[in-house]
């Protein structure tokens, strides 16, 4: 069985064709680089996405946050529910962990930006 995919790893967005036999990826074509093949194999088994969103600070502002690696696509809304429960103590340093193993995944939620107390 053939399946068409768009590689999302870089902005080139190569159109990939994946050959699947008995639930296993046997061939990937259309990729410009190796990361495309890796992506296609993963995408056909379990799609993974990096989550980027915002979290609330204790003084009612928002700060950009992201997961430090991709999480299974089907957990995105569970991750969002967890982020939306936090109120962050300030100050926060870019890269510091906000939620460890968010929604039970292998990824940590980290801050994308420094934010000081009360400006």
């Amino acid at each position: 069985m053939k399946q068409e995919l768009t590689c999302i790893v870089c902005p080139l967005g190569c159109a990939l064709t994946v050959e699947i036999e008995n639930g296993e990826v046997t061939e990937v074509s259309g990729n410009t680089c190796k990361r495309g093949a890796d992506y296609a194999r993963q995408e056909c088994v379990r799609p993974m996405r990096v989550l980027t969103t915002t979290a609330m600070t204790e003084d009612g502002r928002v700060i950009p946050v992201r997961t430090d690696s991709a999480v299974p696509k089907e957990t995105l809304f569970d991750c969002m529910a967890e982020v939306n429960r936090v109120k962050l103590h300030l100050p926060i340093k870019r890269g510091s962990v906000i939620i460890k193993h968010i929604a039970g995944t292998d990824a940590d939620l980290i801050a994308s930006k420094d934010i000081e107390r009360g400006i």
Binding site: T6, I8, C10, P11, V50, T52, T53, V62, S112
Partner: protein, 417 residues
């Protein structure tokens, strides 16, 4: 009024302005100032909290604020002075910059100026959608600022007009925050956004992309209650009888970006009607000697990585100009054929070095050849398996190829094959 003299002024502290400042510093300029209208630097990157930036420039995937931070750090390490909260009112052809902030108005005489003001979103007024004037209609970028910087969700049921990248990114963003995005309408037969964004922002969340569709009416008095969408024909005209009503409380417009060139016009700089930005040479110098332009104020880029690259070139060129001027040989004018909509640069002033030319096509093409013709000689030809308006292409003309040009015109032609 304060009066100052300075070597270099950079107008704008977004990704282009900061990269230009860093490059100018590294080329020896010390006496410089970056003027930024907003309260902090980083420009539009601060609200682009999604990832996907920096793969070319830093070899890793960063979010917008992280990409901005890399440049803020470089500028800070070099002690580059930045004045935020400062709006430039005027740049004169002889490079006197008039700016205003809470301390008052200042006039600064500069030896060189880099214009890095970025771009602005096309708004509803520029689109002429009939209907009343309810609240709930935003440009996608405004909604992005509300959600990502201020923590407000502007609506619950959303239709997005235009499939540019900001529209696609906002479709995902609003969905993650609990809104229902009912449709993304695109008047063209193809999306203006990156393929990866169609996949990860629309397909991931089963959001329908309606190609050849536009919004033909908005409904509601106080607040938007719905929109009418229609299919469009090949001339982008709505087809009668195809109207469909979609109830929604929010309409986001992602219908294009316009370089913000009021200051350039004031300085009498020649603008390219296609890009909406200045006409520049390969050093990114405008028609006004000593005034350079880079980033989205010059032409709208797909990737910030290319903005940084172009801005670094402009910053370095400004440094060369300050320390003794740029050589100008016999200039070449670049003439795109229309299928190639525009080239950057539009002019090549010196023929000693290799020049990378960026261009954008007007439609989706497969298996085409781009030719660069001077007089009756083809000095360069390259095959392209695919080209699309959404993706900027480039080619490099070598100094040797440029040196053999007898005619002052370089034609850029797209052919089948």
């Amino acid at each position: 009024m304060n009066r100052e003299q300075i070597d270099l002024i950079i107008v704008g502290g977004g990704p282009a302005g900061l990269a230009a400042a860093v490059a100018a510093y590294d080329s020896g300029v010390r006496d410089m100032l970056v003027l930024e209208r907003d309260v902090n630097t980083g420009g539009i990157l601060q609200q682009c909290i999604h990832n996907g930036f920096g793969l070319h420039r830093f070899g890793k995937e960063l979010t917008g604020p992280e990409y901005a931070w890399e440049y803020e750090r470089m500028a800070a390490e070099r002690n580059i002075p930045i004045r935020c909260g400062t709006t430039v009112l005027n740049v004169s052809p002889d490079k006197v910059v008039t700016a205003v902030n809470s301390d008052g108005v200042s006039r600064i005489e500069a030896k060189a100026v880099v214009l890095a003001m970025g771009c602005r979103e096309r708004s509803r007024g520029a689109l002429n959608i009939p209907g009343s004037r309810p609240s709930g209609i935003f440009t996608a970028g405004t909604a992005q600022k509300y959600v990502n910087c201020m923590g407000y969700l502007p609506g619950r049921e959303v239709v997005i007009l235009g499939s540019g990248d900001i529209g696609l990114i906002m479709a995902r963003r609003m969905t993650l925050e609990g809104a229902k995005v009912k449709a993304v309408c695109e008047i063209m037969p193809y999306s203006g956004g990156l393929a990866r964004n169609i996949r990860q922002c629309l397909d991931d969340f089963d959001i329908p992309l309606k190609l050849r569709h536009t919004v033909t009416a908005v409904h509601g008095r106080e607040r938007l209650t719905g929109v009418t969408i229609s299919e469009t024909d090949e001339y982008r005209r709505p087809i009668p009888g195809t109207e469909e009503y979609i109830s929604c409380d929010t309409l986001l417009l992602s219908v294009g970006l316009i370089p913000e060139n009021e200051l350039s016009k004031g300085a009498g700089i020649s603008l390219d009607p296609i890009t909406g930005g200045a006409v520049v040479d390969e050093k990114r110098q405008t028609s006004c000697p000593g005034i350079f332009a880079c980033g989205n104020v010059l032409h709208v880029h797909d990737l910030v990585d290319f903005v940084s690259e172009e801005a670094a070139l402009a910053g370095k060129s400004a440094a060369e100009y300050i320390s003794g001027g740029l050589d100008e040989g016999a200039p070449l004018d670049l003439k795109p054929d229309g299928k190639i909509r525009y080239t950057i640069p539009q002019r090549i002033a010196s023929r000693d070095e290799d020049v990378k030319v960026y261009f954008r096509v007007d439609n989706i093409y497969k298996n085409v050849k781009i030719k660069v013709i001077n007089g009756d000689k083809t000095i360069f030809a390259k095959k392209l398996a695919a080209a699309a308006p959404g993706e900027m292409e480039s080619l490099t003309l070598t100094g040797a190829q440029l040196a053999e040009c007898g005619d002052a015109k370089l034609e850029f032609v797209l052919e089948a094959g």
